[in-house]
Amino acid sequence: MTDLPETTERKLGLVIDLDICVGCHACVTACKGWNTENYGAPLADDDAYGEEPVGAFLNRVHSFEVTPESGPAQLVHFPRSCLHCDDAPCVTVCPTGASWKRAEDGIVLVNEDECIGCGLCAWACPYGAREMDPSAQVMKKCTLCVDRIDNENLDPIDREPACVRTCPTGARHFGDLGDPESAVSQLVEERGGMDLMPEQGTKPVNKYLPPRPKDEEIDVLAPLLAPVADEPRGFLGWLDKALERMG
């Protein structure tokens, strides 16, 4: 119903490092703060102080427990937002052309003036990355802070998505994943960055860096310690010698 560009000049996206995400939700509220004040309608919260608060968030963090075959259980924090897919089903399903993928950088956006709030795109997205605004009744989604990344009113260093700028551990990276020489592409290469649910065929641009091995999976290089003596008196003998060596 709505066409995707055949190719895009750049593929802007996020690389999210699951090895270091501590699940602090900093990215969640930095995103909410910037995007409620900027692109389109504010990200509203319904029943904000009540029984079932329902707010629009463009980015959420989930936590999963993983129990490896050996070693203790692990907790993985998993930030989830639009992956700006090359084959974005949310765009093609849009009946009005409100959803589109920008030809020059691949960012998937919603033109709120054209959005009728039918919700088809949210159904089509296998990642649950789109949320209907409970107040404006238009579809909201990650814009990669399209109003920051080229914003001439910001210092060049700040021209990155709000979630990346705020992340305290440095788990979020932004760049052109279409350029194999870019820092983010290099990171994906080094760390074995992965697509989320590749079987869906959406060709997501965003990549996730998997957690590094933990606990018993790590090779420990330190040699075990050998006692200097078999009994306390022997220890003092060792001490004497050691002190002599110190001069």
């Binding site: 501590v22 699940g23 602090c24 509220t29 909410k32 109003d147 305290p168 551990t169 060792w238």
Partner: protein
């Protein structure tokens, strides 16, 4: 196809104002973007030393706190019974005159009858100064129920503590151990540090019963049994000693390991350290084999020292250490059962510590000169670093556990050396360089000195002439001699009991004592509203200042509404808990980036006003007129010592602007604002490490006004003040403790680190209550504040009790189930959830999520008020009686730290969904109404 073209360069804001966050205790720098004079967006300040531009979930949600519907609007006078939440709004004049009418007679007759406790106050150097001028001995902030064990053990052992006064050398460390920290304390700096370690591939070991947050990303997780960290640490010490993997040179030069202990049980100085006639600590000088003052020029202290003086044998502390920790009692095999950490793993971790400390040592080519006058060509580093906080601190063995951890760091030579733990100015500062506490009230007069400090022996304890404790919280008594932060958690129960005496007015600031900050929430509410036979309140008057409609507000007779953090002045002062970095002293301000739209005033300015109305010395001129217009004026013009004020930056020197020492500068705050809200003064490169002994650092500290004279000192592996209390308990010295405390003092105030089981284990039957119950602070909440925040409550709106998988299965739980959780003190019925990454004998929940209906402008049906719950109902400030007729305090016997984490419970599945957590508390009326249905916050067009 024609594409839409959204504006790529919208105007971001009209103006950016830089101030300091207060969404938790970290004090990050923030850029507040304003549009049309209103707050539009908040982000981290890239230039700020604490957060370098990043901001956590709380900080980035500050706008929702600033606009919270729970904000108080005007002073309130109680109209209904205490706890009802029924108030009338009154004017500030009426409020202040009412407060003065209560306080003035107290000050003139018995100043101690005002108890002033200030919770999560970030202006303690000011609030304590106010309380000192008032003359009451009853002042403290919340450290007693937070982490005083960590702070006191750090200062008594090495003259500084984690977090505000020191941090890992993130840039150089090669192995990082994290004990008892969930996602906070401190928040952004720790996350940034962990991120940097990951970038460099540095291993992190997380020691915590619960694997969330920082422990989730740790390379190795040690899911230790709560309350046994000290045993684990001392087993590491055993392994390192056994293998000789300790830094002998460091121990000899910079610690009291070579000090000489009186070994004669018949001596009245038994167990104390040998000193000369001038009270200088003596060591054996390896050059001469004879005793010499430890700080003598060129002295080479001998770790193997032994000497007979006046017929009494003295032997080095180091030999005591070897004797104790080489014992099989501390072998990994002896502790694996209790700690839940297999012996082989303890041995492996010890080997990793040794490998990194000694095989991967760091050398920096930076010459420096020590306090004995010796020049060193290099700075040698042992790149093992450590951070710890409440998990090891909030136990009744917490002080000794924290000491054990510092002991381990020092044995490795990794404190104040490259790659290890580094102090942040004004620290290092030895316990002896701190003031001693004062508590002798004189009607109409100020107190003789500061309320809180560091005691060095029984003679420093605070008793009245009749032998009863001088302070309402019984701080600095035999029950908890080294209570450096006071015991805020004991104030309500002691005031209610009239023990040690009755008070008249309880004056609280920013502490939710009627809810999540009390040990035993139900009893706290009862005590606050209890009446005597005449129908009068047992605690006659309560004044409370808060910015928000908290649970505590409902129990006040008079409420002084504070501003939000964006509407106020504050100083994050070097006199208090500044924002320094290891390489720089730094302080900061808050300033009103917007003016309040309600009839509220910054609490500190209210104190300035009250002080003037009360005529408190220091706050009025000789003619009785007010000295300061408000808190901002105080920040600029107050001088604690000549030339040293609350803010160190941009003072007036003899030849122009200066920093550190200098005369007040009327335009000082303008300079702070122009500089982004903070000031930094850099430590010279030669003073960067070895600070306690490094003369370049010591001289810089004097120049900067941190201290008035160089004060080098030794690390106290052997903590002599503890021994002085033991000596008294043994009956050897005067004054002596009451008999019922003797054995406990002998056991727990050991001058070398020890481990003993958490006290509750000896009172609540571990068979009947087999599980440990803990709380953690969620990453996106700061105590009870976050619940009013429309964004944050969608992240942490519920708090199930997490159960380990084996327990979940054994009890036949399934999703959506509820459990009855019982302790020796009470029971709660709460929702449960399964968690695998959890110690097998531990259950836990997020703290302070549960709310009382009617508080925080939330709907009565809000999940926080229906399903949310507090573990506090299961805790008591006293332990159960165990046959000796006594109710022992549920606190650390050294410092009085609230032993929250000693809690033991049992659980049972309940058959049906009760719908609401038990106990159910009656709703309080809301003086601010309820929040709006929809929030769609946008300031710009």
């Amino acid at each position: 196809m024609r594409q839409p073209d959204p504006d790529r360069s919208p105007k971001v804001s009209d103006e950016v104002r830089k101030t300091t966050c207060y969404m938790c205790a970290c004090r990050c720098g923030i850029d507040v973007h304003l549009k049309n004079g209103e707050v539009a967006y908040i982000e981290g300040n890239r230039d700020h030393p604490v957060n370098h531009g990043v901001l956590c979930a709380k900080g980035a949600s500050g706008i929702m706190q600033h606009l919270s519907p729970a904000r108080l609007r005007a002073p309130l006078k109680r109209t209904g019974p205490r706890g009802s939440g029924e108030f009338e709004e009154i004017s500030w004049d009426e409020a202040l005159e009412l407060a003065v009418s209560w306080m003035k007679p107290i000050r003139e007759s018995a100043p101690e009858k005002l108890a002033f406790f200030t919770g999560r106050d970030q202006s303690q150097s000011f609030t304590s100064y106010w309380a000192q001028a008032f003359g009451t001995p009853n002042y403290a902030a919340h450290g007693g129920f937070c982490s005083v064990n960590m702070a006191a053990a750090g200062i008594y052992t090495m003259g500084g503590a984690f977090w505000e006064f020191g941090q890992p050398d993130w840039e150089r460390t090669k192995l990082f151990l994290l004990f008892g920290v969930a996602e906070d304390h401190d928040s952004n700096p720790l996350k940034m540090g962990l991120g940097r370690l990951k970038e460099r591939g540095v291993k992190t070991i997380g020691v915590n019963p619960i694997r969330t947050g920082y422990n989730a990303v740790a390379d190795e997780w040690v899911g230790i049994t709560p309350g046994t960290d000290g045993l684990f640490i001392l087993a590491l010490v055993h392994c390192l000693l056994e293998a000789g993997k300790i830094d002998l040179d460091y121990l000899a030069r910079w610690t009291n390991a070579p000090a000489l202990v009186d070994e004669d049980p018949k001596s009245d100085r038994y167990g104390l350290l040998l000193r000369d006639d001038e009270d200088r600590l003596l060591v054996i000088d390896r050059r001469t084999g004879r005793p010499a003052p430890y700080d003598g020029a060129g002295v080479k202290p001998d770790l193997r020292g032994k000497v007979r003086r006046a017929g009494i044998t003295h032997r080095s502390v180091f030999q005591l250490i070897a004797g104790r920790y080489l014992s099989k009692d501390f072998a990994p095999e002896a502790v694996e059962g209790r700690t839940g950490v297999p012996a082989a793993r303890i041995r492996r971790i010890a080997a990793e510590l040794a490998h990194v400390a000694f095989d991967q040592a760091i050398e920096i080519d930076q010459p420096w000169t020590d306090f004995r006058g010796e020049r060193h060509e290099k700075m040698i580093g042992r790149p093992v670093s450590v951070h710890a906080m409440r998990g090891i601190s909030a136990h009744s063995n917490g002080f000794q556990t924290c000491r054990a951890l510092h002991f381990l760091q020092i044995l490795l030579g990794s404190v104040e050396t490259p790659g290890g733990f580094r102090f942040k100015p004004p620290y290092p500062k030895s316990a002896e360089a701190h003031p001693k506490p004062c508590a002798d009230p004189h009607p109409g007069q100020p107190l003789d000195g500061p309320h809180l400090g560091f005691v060095h022996g029984p003679e420093d304890l605070l008793y009245r002439e009749d032998g009863t404790p001088a302070r309402i919280d019984k701080a600095f008594t035999w029950e908890n001699p080294m209570s450096a932060h006071g015991l805020m958690h004991m104030v309500i129960s002691n005031a209610h009991a009239g023990d040690p005496y009755r008070i008249d007015t309880l004056f609280l600031y920013m502490a939710n004592m009627a809810w999540n900050s009390s040990m035993g929430t139900g009893r706290a509410m009862e005590m606050l509203s209890d009446t005597d036979e005449d129908g009068e309140y047992v605690i006659p008057r309560i004044i409370y200042s808060d910015a928000y409609s908290s649970e505590m507000v409902a129990y006040a007779d008079l409420v002084l509404p504070d501003t939000t953090y964006l509407e106020r002045h504050d100083c994050i002062s070097l006199l208090d808990r500044p924002i320094s970095e290891p390489d720089a002293a730094a302080d900061a301000i808050r300033w009103p980036v917007v003016e309040p739209d309600r009839d509220v005033r910054g609490f500190q300015s209210v104190l300035v006003d009250l002080a003037a109305r009360l005529g408190l010395p220091g706050f009025v001129e000789e003619d009785g007129t007010p000295r300061y217009a408000d808190y901002a004026d105080y920040m600029i013009r107050h001088e604690r010592r000549p030339g040293v004020g609350p803010l160190a930056g941009w003072r007036v020197g003899e030849t122009g602007m200066t920093h550190g020492r200098g005369a007040p500068n009327e335009a000082q705050l303008d300079s702070y604002i122009a500089n982004g809200g903070f000031w930094m003064g850099h430590v010279p490169a030669e003073g960067a490490f070895y600070k306690p002994w490094n003369m370049a650092y010591q001289d810089w500290a004097v120049e900067t006004g941190l201290t008035d004279a160089p004060r080098p000192y030794l690390f106290d592996l052997f903590c002599e003040p503890l021994r002085r209390f033991q000596l008294a308990a043994e009956g050897r010295t005067e004054p002596q403790p009451p008999d019922h405390l003797r054995e406990r003092i002998k056991l727990t105030l050991d001058p070398l680190p020890i481990w003993y089981p958490p006290m509750e284990d000896g009172h609540a039957d571990p068979v009947e209550y087999p599980l440990h119950a803990l709380t953690q602070r969620p990453p996106a909440m700061y105590h009870s504040w976050g619940g009013q925040n429309a964004w944050l409550r969608q992240i942490h709106g519920s708090n199930p009790l997490y159960l380990p998988s084996h327990l979940w299965q054994a009890h036949g739980f399934s999703e959506g189930d509820w459990a009855r959780v019982s302790s020796a003190h009470g029971e709660i019925v709460v929702p449960v959830a399964e968690m695998a990454a959890l110690n097998d004998n531990t259950v836990w929940t997020w703290n302070a999520i549960g709310k009382r209906k009617g508080a925080w402008a939330l709907d009565d049906k809000a999940p926080e008020a229906t399903k949310g719950f507090l573990l506090n109902h299961l805790i008591h400030e006293l332990l159960p009686e165990k046959g000796d007729g006594l109710r022992w305090s549920n606190s650390d016997p050294v410092t009085g730290q609230a032993a929250w984490f000693d809690l033991r419970v049992r659980i049972e599945r309940v058959d049906r969904d009760p719908g609401e957590s038990y106990p159910v508390t009656e709703p309080q009326a809301s003086p601010v109404g309820r929040g709006p249905k929809t929030v769609a916050q946008k300031v710009g067009e």
